[in-house]
Amino acid sequence: MMNSEVDGDRLEGYDLIAVLMLVLIAGLDTTWNALSSAMLHLATHPEDRRRLVAEPALIPTAVEELLRFYAPVVLTRETTKDVQLGDTTIPAGELVLLNWAAANRDPEMFPDADKVIIDRAENRHIAFGTGIHRCLGSSIARLELKIAIEEWLGVIPEFELDDPESVTYSTGHIWGPRVVDVVYPATVAAARS
């Protein structure tokens, strides 16, 4: 990034530091919240977990569905001019919450929108936003989630939630379970040591 050039322009000085900070911060809480939601789901849905163990080729499709359903990021925009949306006018200078998570549950777009269907083949979700500011890190985020789930299930195919009461959530514009304590059978532990 420090050496790249677009149309003859380079990032320098404060701009470079700002972009590096953004990439760093945007890639941390987002991915761990997405991953902890995925783990919580797999810990509490043995039928989905066992299917992914039996059919690992489904993991990328499952990652998209978990991103749709547990969409970890909701951000804001500021209107630069008056915007007419249906019957409502949003005046210039207002903060608008972009609830991609709600769009991902639109029943007109997603049949059985409130269900996790891990082999959902038609899944135009917008957990990474849309338009020019769509997530810059979506490809690496997808890869991280896929690898993490593949590797975990390869070693620990059977596990469940230890204590549902212990799950606490991070809130704010990046959302997900903070703590997901799981237990797995002694046979798995023995095979590892």
């Binding site: 990328p60 135009r124 849309t130």
Partner: protein, 66 residues
């Protein structure tokens, strides 16, 4: 069957390329382009449909009649 990508809509999410790299390729900035003239061989039909149905920007158009 023919397929095209609208360059004004594509934001380079890359989901099409997850389905079919025979048909979709990306430029240096990550935006999608169609290889060749957009004619879809029989073997790629299903993948191309899935690419269009999963593109978050609705940038991919499939023409069954062509």
């Amino acid at each position: 069957m023919k397929v095209s990508v609208d360059p004004d809509k594509c934001q380079g999410h890359g989901r099409c390329m997850m389905y079919d790299t025979e048909i979709f390729e990306c430029d240096d900035l990550g935006y999608a382009h169609i290889r060749g003239d957009g004619t879809v061989p029989e073997a790629d039909r299903e993948e191309v449909w899935f690419a269009s149905l999963n593109c978050p920007e609705q940038a991919i158009t499939v023409d069954e009649s062509a």
